[in-house]
C-alpha cells in the first residue's frame, strides 16, 4: 500500500471518530508533500465546490417542493473528490460514476441548468428528462453516466479505458494517451461486477482508475459491517495486481496532487489503479434517510472538516483569498443556481413524441429514431441513420 496523502494546513485533529469510521487513520497523519498549485486553479476549484454545494442545497429544496421526483442523492461533503479528480485528468479522459452523480456532472463541466432540468423532468435536461437524478450523461464532456445499479458502472469503466487504448493502439497504430476515471461507492466493492472488472483491468492492462468514494456508509451500513478488510481496502486491489492508494478526500488540493500522480502513472504504464478516497457524506443517503445509524457527534466532527471550509482557510492563510472575494464568490454562485432553477422551471416538459424516441437509433415500427438533447444542439443523432424496411407497420 502506498499513501500519497499529506496533512494540509488548517486540518482539524484526527480523532478516534475518524478511526471508528474508516478503521485506520494513518493516511490522515502523513506529512505534506505538495507542489505549489497556482492560485487561479485553487479559486476555480473553490468556486466549483461552492457551486456543487449550493446546487445540492437547492436540489433538496426542490425535492421537498416535489419538483424533483424519484430518488435523489446529494453530494454534500464529497465535493473535493469530484472537483479534485476531474481537475487531475484531461477533458478527453472519460468518466463514469454511480447515482450520486450531480457533483461529477458539474465538475466535468455540465451546465447546471441541464443538470437541474433533468431532475425536473424537463426537455432542457441533459437527457431530455429521460434519465433523472441518478443518470446524468454528457457526451460533450465525456461523462458516460450516472448509473443507478450499484457496481454497474465498474465494468463499463474498464470498457471505456479499453476503448481508449484500442482506438489509439489498434486502430490508429499509436500509443494510448487516455485514462478512464470510474467512481464507485464503498458499497459497490461488494458487487461481483466490481471484482470481475478489477480482474479484467489487471489482466488486460487497462488504464482505468477506480476511485472508491469511501464515505464510510452504504445507506445505513457502516463499511465494516458490509465489507471485509474495511480498514485496508487497498488489499483488495493487491489481490488483482493493481496498485492501491489511500487519499484524503476532504482536501481538494491533496486530492488533485495525489490523483495527478496516479493518473500520470496510469497513463504512462497503461496499468489500472485503485484509490481508497476517504470522504464523508454530510446528508442522508437519499432524501428519506433519518440517519439513525450514526451519531450527531460523529457528523459534527466531519462537518468541522468541511472540504470547502478547509480550502477557504488554506487560501486565506496563503493570501489567495480575502473575506470580500469569498463573499462575492458565494453571491455569484447563489445567483447562478437561482437562475438555473428558474431556467429549469421554464423549460417545457418533453412532448409525448419523446416517449418513443431514443429506443433505437434506426427507426422501425413505432420508434421514430433518436434526437440529441438541447445541450448538444438538438441535432439528429448519428449521421447516416438508416431506416429498416419493415414491410408493413402494424405494431
Amino acid at each position: 500500500m502506498t499513501s500519497l496523502s499529506n496533512a494540509p494546513t488548517g486540518q482539524p485533529a484526527v480523532t478516534d471518530v475518524h478511526a471508528k469510521v474508516y478503521g485506520d487513520v494513518d493516511h490522515l497523519q502523513a506529512p505534506p508533500v505538495r507542489a505549489e498549485i497556482p492560485a487561479a486553479k485553487q479559486l476555480a476549484w473553490l468556486r466549483d465546490m461552492l457551486l456543487i454545494r449550493e446546487f445540492e442545497v437547492r436540489c433538496m429544496q426542490a425535492y421537498q417542493e416535489k419538483k424533483i421526483g424519484g430518488f435523489c442523492h446529494v453530494y454534500i461533503g464529497q465535493e473535493a473528490v469530484a472537483v479534485g479528480c476531474t481537475a487531475a485528468v484531461r477533458h478527453e479522459d472519460p468518466i463514469v460514476t454511480a447515482y450520486r452523480d450531480h457533483g461529477h456532472a458539474l465538475a466535468r463541466g455540465m451546465d447546471p441548468r441541464h443538470c437541474m432540468a433533468e431532475m425536473f423532468g424537463r426537455i432542457g435536461g441533459c437527457a431530455k428528462g429521460k434519465g433523472g437524478s441518478m443518470h446524468m450523461f454528457d457526451r460533450a464532456n465525456n461523462l458516460y453516466g450516472g448509473h443507478g445499479i450499484v457496481g454497474a458502472q465498474t465494468p463499463l469503466g474498464a470498457g471505456l479505458a479499453f476503448a481508449c487504448k484500442y482506438m489509439d493502439e489498434v486502430i490508429d497504430g499509436g500509443r494510448n494517451t487516455r485514462v478512464a476515471l470510474c467512481f464507485l461507492g464503498d458499497g459497490a466493492l461488494n458487487q461481483g461486477a466490481f471484482h470481475e472488472a478489477m480482474n479484467l483491468a489487471g489482466l488486460f492492462d487497462i488504464p482505468v482508475i477506480y476511485v472508491v468514494e469511501n464515505n464510510g456508509y452504504s445507506m445505513g451500513t457502516a463499511i465494516a459491517r458490509g465489507t471485509t478488510m474495511a480498514h485496508s481496502l487497498v488489499t483488495k486491489a493487491a489481490g488483482y495486481g493493481i496498485d492501491g492508494y489511500v487519499v484524503d478526500g476532504m482536501d481538494v488540493l491533496g486530492v488533485y496532487a495525489d490523483m495527478k500522480r496516479i493518473a500520470d502513472k496510469c497513463r504512462e504504464t497503461s496499468r489500472p489503479a485503485f484509490v481508497d478516497m476517504r470522504t464523508y457524506r454530510f446528508k442522508g443517503h437519499s432524501m428519506s434517510d433519518p440517519r439513525k445509524y450514526r451519531t450527531k457527534e460523529e457528523e459534527d466532527v466531519f462537518e468541522a472538516d468541511d472540504p470547502i471550509g478547509r480550502l477557504e482557510r488554506q487560501m486565506k492563510a496563503s493570501g489567495a483569498l480575502t473575506d470580500e472575494s469569498f463573499k462575492a464568490m458565494q453571491k455569484s454562485v447563489r445567483e447562478q443556481v437561482r437562475e438555473c432553477v428558474a431556467w429549469s422551471d421554464a423549460s417545457p416538459v418533453p412532448g409525448p413524441e419523446e416517449l418513443l424516441t431514443d429506443v433505437f437509433v434506426e427507426p422501425w415500427g413505432p420508434y421514430p429514431g433518436s434526437t440529441q438533447p438541447e445541450m448538444n444542439g438538438g441535432t439528429p443523432n448519428m449521421p447516416g441513420t438508416k431506416t429498416i424496411d419493415v414491410k408493413e407497420d402494424l405494431l
Binding site: P94, V96, C126, A127, K128, K130, G131, H135, F137, R139, Y144, G145, I149, A152, T154, P155, L156, G157, A158, G159, L160, F162, A163, C164, Y166, M167, E169, V170, I171, G192, A193, H195, E196, A197, N199, L200, L203, F204, T357, D358, V359, F360, V361, E362, W364, S370, Q372, P373, N376, N381, M382, T385, I388, D389, V390, K391, E392, D393, L394, L395
Partner: protein, 329 residues
Amino acid sequence: MTAVREIEFRDALREAMSEEMRRDKRVFLLGEEVAQYNGAYKVSRGMLDEFGPRRIIDTPISESGFAGLAIGAAMMGLKPVVEFMSWSFSLVAADPILNNAPKMLYMSGGQFGCPVVFRGNDGAGGQLGSTHSWCVEGLYSNVPGVKIAIPSNPYDAKGLLKSSIRGDDPVFFLESERMLGNKGHVPEEEYVIPFGQAKVLREGTDCTVASWGRPVHFCMDAAEELAKQGISCEVIDLRTVRPLDIGTVVRSVRKTSTCVVVDQSWSFGSPGSELASQVHRHCFDDLDNYVHRVHTADVPTPYATNLEQDYLPNARRIAEAIRSATYNL
C-alpha cells in the same frame, strides 16, 4: 457450372464476423475460450491467427464483467461482438445486458448508443438439463431497446449477423448448439439481411405456421407430413422477433384464415404470445379459429431424452396443432 457452396452454420457465423472485422477495425470479439481454444463450439476457429490477441480476446468466466466492458466500449464507439458460451450464462450478466445496453440511448437522451452484439447458444435439445437450456428470448424479448435475431439456417445467420454488427443498436443474436453443424447454401458474394423481414419458406393455402430459429425445421417437417394428408401449410420464418414482421404473417393469415405460432420458449408472456395477440388483433375478422400456439412445455427443461423431446415444440405437436386449428382432427 459453379457448384452451390454449402457451409456449416458455425462457418457462416465465423465468415460474418471475420468479414466485418476485415472491413471495420472497430469490431472485435471477446468471450470465454474464443481465442486460443478456437471457441467452445469452434465458431471462432482460426480467428485468433488472422486477427491476433488484441481483437480476438479470451476472457475469464466473468460474464457480468466482460458484458459490461463491451457495453462501455460500445458507448465509446467500438463495435464489440460478445460470445456467450451459452445464453444461459448471460443470466449473471443480466444487469449489463438488460439494464445498460438497451436503455443507454434512451436514458442519455439520445447521446450514447450501444452498438454491441451479444451472441451464443440458446435453447434446449442437448440434454443439458434445466440450468443450461434457457430460451432467453422468452425473457429478453420483453425489453424494449434491443433487437433480437434468431436465425434458422446458415444463409440467414450470416446475413443477419453482418447486419447486426453493422447496425448501431444492441443486438441479441441467438444461435442453437443443435444447429451449428447444419449445412446450407451460402453464396461467396457478400450480402446482408435486414432485420424485421420474415421469409416465406413454403407457400400454402390452409394454415399459416409462423416460427423462428430451430423449431422452423420442425414446422417444415410437420408441413411435409400434413401435405400427404391434403393439408396445405404456409410456413413463415420470422428470422427476427424484435422487430417482428407482423405484416408478412397478417397477409398470409388473410389468405389461409388459420394460424399456428411455434415458439421454443415458455408460453407465458413470450414472443409467441405476442405474435398470437397481434394476429388476433389484425385478423379478427379473417380467422376461422383462434390462433393456436406450440411452445416448450411449461416446466423446467427435463434431462431425459424422451422427456426433453416431448418438451420441445416437435413436429408431432406442431402437426396436432395445425390439425386442430384447421378442424382436421
